[in-house]
Symmetry: C2
Subunit: 336 residues, 2 copies
């Protein structure tokens, strides 16, 4: 421990501490002696001791639904990169899309003394936010942005994003739509996306009929099976399918290939996220690109600013960009 280093370097414990925390306040010769002693004893400062004495833990937390989804993984990577520069390490928690688990994770992190925390989405129990507020731990909601939210959000308006993508299709003359989306239960982002689709369609007096609405796991397999069901259904077939994310859309694309459905001639397909495969697959996928790493970086910078008592002037909105590719086209026979 620190005391041993002090003894070996023949200085006081305070000096050893200073060497690590305020190096300028120690004369170079003494500093050198201390560092040598430390390395001789193979000593590293103990974080628990530091935390207790300084009431600073240098730990931040991030809570995401799952690491299985690239978009959250890269958000975490972005946060880590920014926080590491400031000597802050990141505790990671996965809620598995379960608000109860999210609450448990937050409690565990508070016990660990996280100084700040980022949480994906705002659909969480009030106790979660109460706990954060009581503990005076600054937090940010990521991957979602909503005007009028009581929280500081960093992300984008999921509803507006899906209005945009729906309007794109309407503009191409589409009138019959199907939707394939991930489970909306307890997921504010997905709910907002559905609301966006509905809103855009309503403006034009349109709607997705229930039999053309598929909700299930965000996998390629579910995308496939949804298209098959839609195509075999008795209803008049849609000319466009809006998918909740790229995985689902890629599933639809692959199944279309198998069923001999021509995309985009017979059917337009859209995704969301813009994963690497979206621009590589054939036909390439029209989708909305979201810079999730930037969401992570910005969340980290915001939290650091709050901790420093600085004002954060960065925009909270990381705008998704519509990438129009081969999977969407003007509906055949529709006039420009």
């Amino acid at each position: 421990m620190l005391g041993d280093v002090a003894r070996l370097a023949e200085v006081s414990t305070a000096t050893v501490s200073r060497v690590y925390n305020e190096p300028d306040k120690v004369s170079p010769s003494v500093r050198e002696r201390v560092l040598q002693a430390a390395s001789a004893l193979n000593w590293i400062p103990n974080a628990a001791g530091r935390a207790l004495a300084s009431t600073r833990t240098h730990i931040a937390g991030a809570i995401i639904p799952t690491l299985d989804d690239q978009v959250f993984a890269s958000q975490v990577a972005g946060m880590q990169a920014v926080l590491a520069e400031r000597g802050i390490t990141l505790f990671l928690g996965c809620s598995n899309y379960d608000p109860t688990q999210a609450l448990t994770q937050v409690r565990a992190m508070l016990a660990r003394g996280v100084e700040a925390i980022a949480i994906v989405g705002e659909a969480h129990p009030p106790e979660l936010f109460d706990a954060l507020t009581q503990a005076r731990v600054p937090y940010a909601i990521t991957y979602a942005y909503r005007d009028g939210s009581p929280h500081h959000c960093i992300g984008f308006d999921n509803r507006a994003a899906f209005v945009e993508i729906t309007e794109h299709l309407i503009g191409l003359g589409h009138r019959r739509f199907a939707a394939v989306i991930q489970p909306a239960q307890g997921n504010d982002r997905v709910q907002a996306r559905m609301a966006g689709i509905r809103e855009a369609l309503e403006r034009h007096g349109l709607a997705v009929r229930p039999s053309h609405m598929y909700e299930g796991p965000a996998t390629i397999a579910f995308g496939r099976q949804s298209l098959r069901a839609i195509w075999q259904g008795s209803e008049k077939r849609p000319t466009a399918i809006i998918c909740g994310n790229d995985q689902l859309a890629i599933g639809v694309l692959l199944e279309a290939g198998e069923l001999g459905i021509k995309v985009p001639q017979q059917l337009s397909v859209t995704g969301f996220d813009d994963v690497a495969l979206a621009q590589e697959i054939h036909p390439s996928l029209t989708t909305l690109r979201v810079d999730t790493a930037e969401i992570g970086r910005r969340a980290a910078r915001y939290l650091l600013d709050v901790l420093d008592g600085r004002e954060n002037v960065e925009s909270c909105v990381v705008q998704p960009v519509l990438k129009i590719r081969e999977s969407t086209a003007r509906v055949s026979g529709s006039k420009k």
Copy 2:
């Protein structure tokens, strides 16, 4: 803090502590009083204080190259699941495939008092392992297994895996091979994979010619561009391409589609990992399936066993399984 709770519950601080650490040793009535006081004050035990007093942090660490790769993300998820059951939280560090960063991360984790640590691969500076040994922190190497390794490894023999996949192709009559792999520099797993390919080919007096060997980023894009280069090259074209992972193989598959190369009639392609897309893409990809989540779970259980002074009897090997699909076939004109 704990003292406030003690006062409110009209018990000593020791009793409050017991309620949380050895509940059986406290009478039910007192226990109830303490819990009520705690919840009234909204108190959670402070981890730094506990760590200091008990010399146990309940923290473990995991160091992976990157979160951008699904296989590492799911290993982390597997570890978390097992550790969470024991109230242990996980610190995550990404080395970005840089051994120096790995060392830095390990040091940071030791300072944080991690009780155990899992590290992907064994190609790390000796100081890293020295530090771990000196600190008496048990560790496990994941995602790699090698007979004769001085470390406890949990994973599979990358060399043997690629011998298997290469032999599969040789057995199908292939004699001219190309290889598309990720950067081998500082990556023992990739080096082992290359060695496996080489070894299997040598047994049959074969080798990949340098002009058919492509090393670059593990992306779909690099897979594509490698196939294009191979196909345009002046050398006699290979009949099989072995890829270092599924991303690369999917790139090759997509580019083959674009170039009008028939897979598997003209060209066989293999991958590694068995990502979700591998069985969905057309033609589906022959690859080796690795249960990375199981690697994570087993690593976690091993580390827990060491911490408990228990002997771990689980196998260190998580055997990859060859998934033969449509992308490989008997070379045309070869006899069975």
